[in-house]
């Protein structure tokens, strides 16, 4: 039924985290998530998200609400928000990017991946392994060979090599 009322009631959805906590959100904002959009098209109003814990869901909702109110005039404001949004630990960023990926929120995936890239580009190989939980499966000889092929890329030179995993 098409409603032309000026005080049209906004359709609300309920998102449920893996810990069974429920959050109400406007449908128009929630459909920034491709996953949620699909479920809405299948007539769901209660959206269970078993892959997203409460803490992460709260952050995601905050992101979607901010980006849901995007207009031509508040671009700077949203840029600032995004900059602050990614100032989180690697652990939190990982949880967020997994959730954003599951929820198919393209702009958030891009934002988070860019944040990762910016923060890891000067890190040492060891730090990368620690951050991403990747075991070294090279033998010492293999590793030396790969290293040797691009020794110059590992040199300190003018860039400070960052060994921290945070």
């Amino acid at each position: 039924m098409a409603s032309s009322s000026k005080t049209e009631q906004k359709k609300m959805l309920i998102l449920k985290s893996s810990e069974e906590e429920e959050f109400e959100i406007e449908e128009s904002i929630a459909v920034q998530s491709g996953t949620i959009k699909n479920m809405v098209e299948d007539d769901f109003t209660l959206i269970p998200l078993p892959n997203v814990d409460t803490e992460t869901l709260i952050k995601i909702i905050k992101y979607m609400k901010k980006h849901g109110e995007k207009t031509k005039s508040n671009e700077k404001d949203i840029e600032e928000f995004d900059k602050e949004f990614v100032k989180k630990s690697f652990t939190e960023l990982k949880e967020l990017v997994l959730a954003a990926n599951y929820l198919h929120i393209t702009s958030l995936i891009d934002l988070l991946c860019q944040a990762f890239a910016d923060r890891i580009k000067n890190k040492s190989v060891k730090a990368i392994r620690e951050i991403f939980g990747i075991p070294n499966d090279f033998t010492p000889e293999e590793e030396a060979e790969v290293y040797e092929q691009h020794k110059w890329a590992h040199e300190e030179g003018k860039e400070h090599i960052d060994h921290s995993a945070y």
Binding site: K121, I128, P135, Q149, A153
Partner: protein
């Protein structure tokens, strides 16, 4: 890993960092890294090595790279100090047009070993890939070089060089 207890190659990770990111996300992240970081991160693991060296990834990375600072000119120097060997250096575009001293990034080689063949496969979207013979081939490249190699039609080089370049200049 069995029999590898206590080896420095086996690291115990705390529980929270066992949150493993799937390959498509790793690819998204790596696509946004500068070339130098990517070369370094080939050492992270075998799967990262395979990913970073794959033609599909190289194309993805190329299409995302718009960073002007990454654009280098590759300068191939014939350095008599090394007995008529070739040296490779790279420097930013802008500095070539200024009269200021050009700071060239040393790409690390006087070529010492003549037994390898290099094929300058060509430039594609400002990326020139010089392939270490026998390692890889790049399918969709065009060769558009303007070089006077003084009679040589290929250069010999022992390493694979991968940088963002917009032209090759030979200086004697």
């Amino acid at each position: 890993m069995e029999g590898e207890e206590g080896s420095s190659n086996v690291t115990q990770f705390p529980a929270d960092s066992m949150c493993i990111l799937p390959p498509e996300i790793i690819t998204e992240i790596l696509s946004r890294l500068p070339v130098k970081s990517l070369l370094k991160f080939r050492s992270v693991s075998k799967s990262w090595l395979a990913l970073i060296c794959s033609p599909e990834f190289i194309n993805t990375h190329l299409s995302l790279s718009t960073n002007e600072e990454e654009t280098l000119h590759l300068i191939i120097l014939n350095d008599l100090e090394f007995g008529d060997k070739w040296c490779f250096k790279g420097c930013p575009v802008a500095s070539l047009f200024n009269n200021s001293v050009t700071e060239a990034v040393d790409l690390g080689y006087p070529i010492e070993d003549d037994s390898y063949d290099l094929h300058i496969v060509g430039s594609c979207n400002e990326l020139i890939l010089l392939w270490f013979y026998g390692i890889q081939q790049l399918e969709n490249t065009r060769i558009c070089l303007n070089l006077d190699l003084g009679g040589k039609d290929h250069l010999t080089i022992p390493y694979m060089v991968w940088g963002m370049m917009s032209s090759i200049v030979i200086i004697r």
